[in-house]
């Protein structure tokens, strides 16, 4: 399938989603909004995991920071509820990027499984802060936002209006991230994922590449956080727990790392199972766990990767290199087994 055809297909899919969803049920509309926000989070994590080859167990931290920033500004300073909402979006992105810049200084000193641990520990520190600094964050009660922003005559309190806004951010994120991973910089990230030593021999500053990828990842996750705060109009420490970080990882791996849209598919599946199947049957965790185990065992490139192989669905983003289809080769590219220092 040619590049143009793939892009057209994705465009058609996106248009279908934005046109059809508001005419389904109120629940599906609300669910779709949440899926899109978490898809932004998943895509941001995919930049690190799928493209650069490093797995972070602490992405909830950026989501949480973006969300708490939005909530604190709204509740304590009455800021961000009108056109200044766009400023909050900017601040959320900057905060996510800045935090990532700081975290990465620590985290990139470790590799593989130690990177997992240190990102986990950093994220738990953010959780502890959210929980303990209750004069600012409301502690375990959380913070209730006074309502969604009013953009002139449009009230984002209307679920359809908010859906369109979130969709706009999602589409923009998808496009920007696509450009990012397709750029020479993005390509070198994939090179680093595939064979880091070779890249550094070739003269690439590997550390700087990873650092920038981390910052980009954090920025988009922060954006997701801002949108997340307004989707339920409340923020609590529950949004920053280990489970959220693992959910993000789940979404990327399930959908297919290194494909951007894989994270979106993963978000659809995970949220659909959690929020919808849970209303029908009590044994839904088995389905989630089972799907997850089956996907990792039998579909090493995630669901999207498997579907792509069959040529039935088109995806934007980098096609995983053909040799990565067999698990043993992939092991060399994903650096969990190495314990060295960068």
């Amino acid at each position: 399938m040619s590049r143009q055809l793939k892009i057209l297909a994705v465009l058609a899919l996106l248009i279908a989603v934005v046109v059809v969803t508001p005419h389904t049920t109120p629940f599906l509309l609300m669910l779709a909004t949440r899926i899109l926000i978490l898809a932004i989070l998943a895509m941001s994590l995919d930049v690190l995991l799928g493209f650069t080859g490093i797995a972070s167990l602490g992405h909830a931290a950026f989501l949480g920071l973006g969300a708490y920033l939005t909530a604190i500004l709204a509740v304590r300073y009455h800021f961000g509820l009108g056109w200044d909402f766009w400023l909050v979006v900017l601040f959320g992105i900057l905060l996510g990027a800045a935090t990532a810049a700081v975290f990465a200084l620590f985290a990139l000193r470790a590799r593989g499984v130690y990177f997992l641990m240190i990102t986990l520990a950093l994220s738990q520190c953010v959780w502890g802060l959210a929980y303990r600094w209750d004069s600012l964050t409301g502690g375990d009660n959380g913070l209730n936002l006074p309502g969604r922003p009013m953009l002139g005559p449009i009230s984002l309190g209307n679920d359809t209006a908010y859906f369109y806004l979130v969709f706009g951010f999602f589409a923009a994120s998808l496009v920007l991230l696509y450009i990012f991973v397709e750029s020479p910089f993005g390509r070198s990230l994939v090179g680093i994922r595939e064979h880091e030593v070779r890249m550094s021999i070739l003269g690439y500053n590997v550390w700087l590449h990873k650092y920038i990828a981390f910052i980009v990842s954090g920025a988009f996750a922060g954006l997701a956080g801002v949108l997340w705060a307004h989707v339920s109009s409340e923020v609590s420490p529950e949004d920053v727990t280990l489970t959220t970080s693992v959910d993000a990882l789940l979404m990327v791996v399930l959908g297919g790392p290194g494909t951007l849209l894989g994270g979106v598919l993963g978000a659809v599946i995970v949220l659909f199972l959690r929020e919808y199947l849970s209303t029908l049957v009590p044994w839904w965790p088995y389905v989630l766990g089972g799907v997850y185990v089956a996907t990792i065992s039998y579909l090493p490139d995630g669901l999207l990767g498997a579907l792509m192989q069959r040529g039935r669905i088109l995806a934007a983003g980098v096609t995983p290199a053909p040799e990565s289809v067999q698990p043993p080769n992939r092991a060399k590219k994903l650096e969990v087994n190495e314990g060295g220092v960068s």
């Binding site: 375990d140 339920s232 409340e234 009590p282």
Partner: protein
């Protein structure tokens, strides 16, 4: 492949059912029940639903002409999920009211929704003081049928001081419920002449309390405990192993010794005092019948999670009796509900003007005995004193009380902590 087609069909069926919404029947009362069905609080959710369902089944799902349709939604113990499910119940299932929630954060997340959507929310468990105090005017559609965190501890503090306890060390979980319970106790305990000499706040998720236990001031004569969450049973056990108990009196939160956990505790809690609006050992015919039936149906003694929701169902039924089974709209329902006086298993229940219950508070002591004709001796919260007609404001002047800040880690300040 065969399995793919089947999966596809299942997915289609699931998707289609999402689109189906039936409008409410003429005399149907739709109730959205929110509880943490999955996750570590699953057992609490079960007790809540069981309590409500028991009343429902006893009345064959009919409240004086209104057919009850109960829809249980899983909050996963996360406020964000609770919000989504609540919105779905309101906008898609067209429920007349929401009931339930457990955590303070869920109560705080759902209350604004009730205001925004003008839908009644009956909080049968969330106990955050301010929802019916300093924030009550923000939530006119919010009614409580359970309690406020400090409500039982106001009379408890006074009782403790009047019964020989002079110096107390508190070990309470580091979150709002802990602050409000300790605060309520401290206020009346110190007003009567008692002294809180040490306050410790172990973080949620603590399993090893030995750092706190080993720091207990040796001149205290009682330890007030409020452990919460999964490791809560460890505190009382570890206190006993350390020798602190029974040298010092063991007192604590009513929620800590509630029948929900009591059967899993050992003999180390015999003699412990606590206060709550309910005890399964209340010796009235109404409660005895309630406890026996619950035990027969669900194999366990009911605690306050179950009783609270049973009584909520009873209250809804009482309103339906007055409206002949017709849903009168949220505002009229709230008015009628808060004017009621019923005899619940916990005793007489009425409401104050902030939509919080006025009820008996029982000072209880854990004893091992046989109750209600049972042949086995078990741990029960035997009632030692009944404080009637207790509101969330106790004997304080309401206006004065609301001027002071909500109980917090540092309020009331610990004057006697050196």
């Amino acid at each position: 492949m065969q399995w793919m087609r089947q999966v596809g069909l299942l997915a289609l069926a699931v998707a289609l059912s999402a689109l189906v919404t039936r409008p409410a029947g003429a005399d149907e009362l739709r109730i959205g029940f929110l509880a943490p069905v999955s996750g570590p609080l699953a057992q609490i959710a079960k007790d809540m639903v069981d309590g409500f369902r028991m009343y429902l089944d006893d009345h064959k799902g009919d409240f004086h002409g209104a057919t009850i349709k109960l829809i249980v939604a899983d909050t996963q113990a996360k406020p964000a999920a609770a919000v989504l499910q609540a919105q779905k119940l309101i906008k898609q299932n067209h429920v007349n009211m929401l009931i339930g929630g457990v955590l303070a954060s869920t109560g705080y997340a759902l209350a604004p929704i009730s205001t925004r959507e003008k839908v009644l929310y009956i909080a049968s468990v969330p106990a955050s003081d301010n929802l019916t105090q300093r924030d009550a005017h923000d939530y006119p559609y919010f009614v409580r049928t359970g309690w406020t965190s400090s409500q039982p501890n106001h009379p408890f503090g006074e009782w403790a001081c009047q019964n020989g306890i002079k110096k107390v060390v508190t070990i309470a979980a580091d979150y709002a419920f802990g602050y409000e319970q300790v605060g309520g106790f401290q206020k009346t305990f110190e007003a009567c002449g008692g002294q809180i000499v040490q306050k410790m706040w172990p973080p949620i998720g603590t399993v090893d309390y030995s750092p706190y236990i080993s720091s207990i001031k040796q001149d205290a004569d009682a330890v007030f405990v409020l452990p919460v969450g999964a490791g809560m049973l460890n505190l009382t056990r570890q206190l006993q192993a350390s020798g602190i108990v029974p040298r010092m009196h063991l007192i604590g939160s009513g929620a800590t010794f509630d029948e929900f956990v009591l059967p899993n505790m050992g003999d180390e809690v015999i003699g412990a005092y606590s206060a709550l609006q309910y005890s399964a050992a209340i010796e009235t015919p109404e409660n005895e019948a309630f406890v026996k039936e619950f035990r027969k149906r669900f194999g366990k003694v009911p605690g306050y999670f179950a009783e609270s929701n049973y009584t909520t169902a009873m209250l809804i039924d009482a309103v339906m009796q007055q409206t002949n089974g017709k849903w009168p709209g949220a505002e009229a329902f709230i008015k009628t509900l808060t004017a009621l006086k019923v005899d619940a298993p916990r005793g007489p229940v009425s409401f104050d003007d902030m939509r919080n219950p006025v009820q008996n508070i029982y000072i209880r002591q854990v004893e091992k005995k046989k109750m209600f004709g049972d042949s086995k001796a078990e741990l029960w919260n035997v009632v030692v004193k009944t404080e009637p007609h207790v509101s969330q404001f106790w004997s304080f002047n309401k206006a004065e009380y609301l001027k002071q800040p909500v109980y917090d880690r540092n309020y009331p300040p610990c004057k006697f902590c050196k």
